[in-house]
């Protein structure tokens, strides 16, 4: 049985309430941190833990914290990114719904470490009911002296505010989130300056994901070094994976990043195999923005080694033959799924969600969607495939925020690995409207040359 640090207690009856959470050992990390540790100690522990941001980019959390500027007399802020809008990602929702006090506990410790007296949770507007859950939890914690003024008599003040977004994926990008939190249009800012220097109201700000901030609790309780022993390499601790698609047991799983992708998909402890006895065709392992992989490259790397569910292994091979851990949104596609249609769906999403500030993303996402629409509906041309490739390459890297890249990568990866499926759509305009390309050779073992 794998180690569980975040969801271990999530299914205890009544864990949403303060009494049960506290009885189960909740808020110990606040006592330990505020009474026995200095902010610097906490940042050190987080550094030692090797915890990487769980929001998508995987940036080391301790390092991010140590970058925060500390100008005299200027307040600092911690902002919890609960905008979770990446298609395929629903782990933060699960955590906040089931064990909200874990997040609140992590927020207080982190706020203490960063010196934030006003901490914000920016939550996606569609999670309206979770706002109530969080506010109840905050009020309970406040009533018990863990939130508010003079926490545990230490003189540390921290208020936690919950702010709802208004339904824009882009407001999950940290600088767009900050703009939105300030009451403005959620357009990403140009960096530099980085939020750590000038963030919310031009004050030093750290933005972290829900899961990242929740993981601070076990790190403080067990110590950074112990935490770092879980997992492998630079993938320390546990990671929440939200699995969906054509699998028998969709849901949120906590893994310790030592298991293989194959085990994750097929074992009964996790996804329980492909639904309806179908075969695996492809998978988007880290949320809609990361490259899609065909079955053969998903289970094994291009070198023929087993691929594991961790940051390094999932990105083994770079974009040519690998993908990314991303936000942990694990989307499985079986042999009946059409990659062209899937790519069109994602392209439509990014076109709809682009903020429209920079020309490559604003215009390029719409163009890609239109071309993919033609191909999907049997009106494509062979030259469209190269055109798509060229458009995505002109968006990638040339935009203000990573949404441009996130729109380009799925298209690039689909063409890179499934070009013949696109070509089949073009060459069989009628047939492609009636049936799918199927599994084809996408699960065939990959030839690995033997070098002496």
């Amino acid at each position: 049985m794998a180690v569980k640090l975040l969801l271990e207690k999530a299914h205890i009856e009544g864990i949403r309430s303060y009494e049960v959470y506290r009885r189960e050992g909740g808020y110990r990390s606040v006592e330990k941190a505020l009474k026995t540790m200095s902010p610097e100690n906490i940042v050190d522990e987080v550094k030692k833990s090797g915890l990487r941001g769980r929001g998508g980019a995987g940036f080391p959390a301790g390092m991010k914290w140590s970058f925060i500027a500390k100008p005299e007399g200027v307040p600092r802020h911690l902002v919890c990114n609960a905008d979770e809008s990446e298609p395929g990602t629903f782990k933060d929702r699960y955590l906040m719904e089931n064990i909200p006090h874990l997040l609140i506990e992590g927020l207080i410790v982190s706020s203490f470490a960063l010196g934030s007296n006003d901490t914000y949770i920016y939550i996606r507007g569609e999670y309206a009911w979770i706002v109530d859950i969080l506010e109840t939890a905050i009020n309970e914690a406040k009533a018990n002296g863990f939130v508010g003024n003079n926490i545990l008599g230490t003189g540390f003040n921290c208020n936690i505010h919950v702010q709802r977004g208004a339904g824009a994926y882009i407001c999950g990008e940290e600088t767009a989130l900050i703009e939105s939190l300030e009451g403005k249009r959620g357009n990403p800012r140009l960096k530099p300056p980085f939020p750590a220097v000038k963030g919310l109201w031009e004050r030093p700000t750290v933005v972290n994901n829900v899961e990242t901030l929740s993981a601070i609790v076990p790190i403080i309780n067990m110590g950074g070094e112990e935490y770092a022993k879980i997992g492998v390499g630079r993938s320390t601790g546990t990671k929440l994976i939200s699995a969906c698609g054509n699998i028998n047991q969709p849901g949120v799983y906590e893994i310790d990043m030592t298991i293989s992708v194959e085990e994750f998909i097929y074992s009964d402890e996790y996804c329980g195999g492909i639904a309806n006895g179908k075969r695996l065709k492809a998978c988007i392992p880290g949320g809609s923005s990361v490259p899609i992989l065909p079955a053969n490259l998903l289970l094994k790397t291009a070198k023929g080694e087993t691929r594991y569910m961790n940051y390094e292994s999932l990105s083994d091979g770079g974009f040519a033959t690998g993908s990314m851990m991303g936000s942990g949104g694990f989307i499985v596609l079986d042999e009946d799924q059409c990659i062209v249609k899937n790519t069109l769906t994602l392209a439509r999403f990014y076109r709809h969600e682009s903020c429209g500030q920079c020309s490559p993303c604003r215009e390029g996402t719409g163009w890609m969607e239109k071309i993919l629409h033609n191909i999907e509906y049997g009106k494509g041309k062979i030259s469209d495939i190269d055109l798509l490739w060229d458009i995505q390459s002109k968006i990638e890297g040339n935009t203000i925020c990573p949404l441009g890249d996130a729109a380009a990568w799925p298209v690039a990866a689909a063409i890179r690995h499934f070009r013949d499926e696109f070509a089949w759509h073009v060459n069989h305009p009628d047939e492609s409207q009636k049936r799918n390309f199927g599994l084809a050779h996408y699960a065939d073992p990959i030839y690995v040359p033997v070098t002496a």
Binding site: R351, E353, S354, C358, P360, E363, K370, K394, G397, N398
Partner: protein
């Protein structure tokens, strides 16, 4: 005040020294000529502008003397400050040229290209940009997006279909006027410039949005369809105005004043007035003073030679900085040819630039 340290920066093989805090773009503009990247959204007089259109992308091949690593991505030169010892490639970077051609294509995707009936034609930055950096053919085969024309009051028309969403007018309205009535609705490729529920924009300085608009999306209704800009001649003039600096350009044909605008510099931006502040002009000067007798005429304006306006205008012509040979480090540009050697028409002994009037076919029969 303490002396600002000078930083050394090399752009396209030309090295200059500029004060710390200068952007790559401003440094490149000091060099001038081809080395200055094109800009569609940046406007030095508008705080917060720039970074959006991505036409000014450049490659930083060396970060600084201290940290010589190149920057991993192309950067927006208008919003990236230089470091001491930085090396930048603009026209010497194939990556930049490729990305820029891409940006031009993106900007033109949904642009109607209705130049023949657009008042901006001839002074349109998008026209210049596509002429200089674009490809001759588009690969876009879909319907372009279309918006209805909207009147922003009785003097300004918004033709959103032509807009490239540079945000300049939004910054202008925000920074020159007191109310936030002019902004952006929606997002992505369906976003649009809009006023607060079709509000009539009344502010005394709102007319300046026309001058900052790089395309024909915001035009002067008192000038619409009256003339083509290249048939009119810009003349510097001023009057005593209690609202603005009163220093303008009159666009005249014969003795008639067709249009009044602020004075612009060689980058197409509103110049500083003689008093040192940005030379924004008020609506009264712009829309209501259309008689020569309203103004004290100073003389013909200086005109950049690459502008089509120069075609009927021979006085005060400014030649752009010649930078190509420096960029090529003294070598002759390989791809350029001597037009006299290959042209049957353009005879060597006829110097077009010396003609006192437009060239005529007779000139070549000599």
């Amino acid at each position: 005040m303490s002396e600002q340290p000078l930083f050394k920066v090399t752009i396209d093989n030309i090295t200059i020294e500029v004060p710390a805090g200068t952007t790559i773009l401003e440094a490149a503009r000091k060099i001038g000529g081809e080395v200055a990247p094109p800009t569609m959204c940046y406007y030095s007089k508008l705080k917060g502008s720039g970074g959006k259109c991505r036409t000014c992308l450049v490659e930083v091949s060396k970060g600084s003397e201290k940290d010589p690593r190149p920057m991993p991505k192309l950067v927006a030169s208008c919003r990236t400050t230089i470091m001491d010892g930085m090396e930048v490639k603009n026209i010497t970077s194939p990556k930049v040229l490729d990305a820029r051609a891409g940006v031009v294509e993106f900007l033109l995707l949904n642009h109607p290209l209705d130049c023949p009936i657009c008042d901006q034609a001839g002074e349109c930055h998008l026209q210049d940009l596509s002429y200089e950096h674009g490809k001759e053919k588009t690969r876009y085969e879909f319907q372009k997006r279309v918006f209805h024309k909207v009147d922003l009051g009785d003097k300004i028309q918004l033709h959103m279909t032509r807009c490239i969403l540079c945000y300049r007018c939004v910054f202008t309205a925000d920074q020159l006027t007191t109310n936030r009535e002019h902004g952006i609705l929606d997002r992505g490729d369906h976003s649009q410039i809009a006023t607060f529920i079709q509000k009539n924009l009344q502010n005394d300085f709102i007319g300046n949005v026309i001058d900052v608009c790089p395309v024909g999306a915001l035009t002067d209704k008192t000038f619409r369809f009256k003339n083509r800009v290249w048939f009119t001649k810009p003349v510097d003039a001023h009057r005593d105005c209690d609202k603005c600096c009163g220093e303008v350009q009159l666009w005249m044909r014969g003795d008639e004043v067709y249009r009044v605008t602020a004075r612009k510099d060689e980058w197409g931006e509103v110049k500083e007035s003689s008093k040192g502040s940005t030379g924004w002009i008020c609506n009264e000067c712009r829309f209501d003073k259309k008689k020569v007798s309203d103004w004290i005429i100073e003389g013909p304006s200086n005109i950049n030679r690459h502008s089509v306006i120069s075609q009927g205008h021979y006085v005060g012509l400014k030649k752009p900085n010649e930078t190509l040979s420096k960029v090529m480090q003294g070598r002759d540009p390989k791809l350029l040819m001597n037009i006299h050697e290959v042209s049957e028409v353009n005879k060597e002994n006829i110097q077009l630039s010396l003609l006192e009037r437009p060239a005529h076919s007779n000139d070549f029969n000599q």
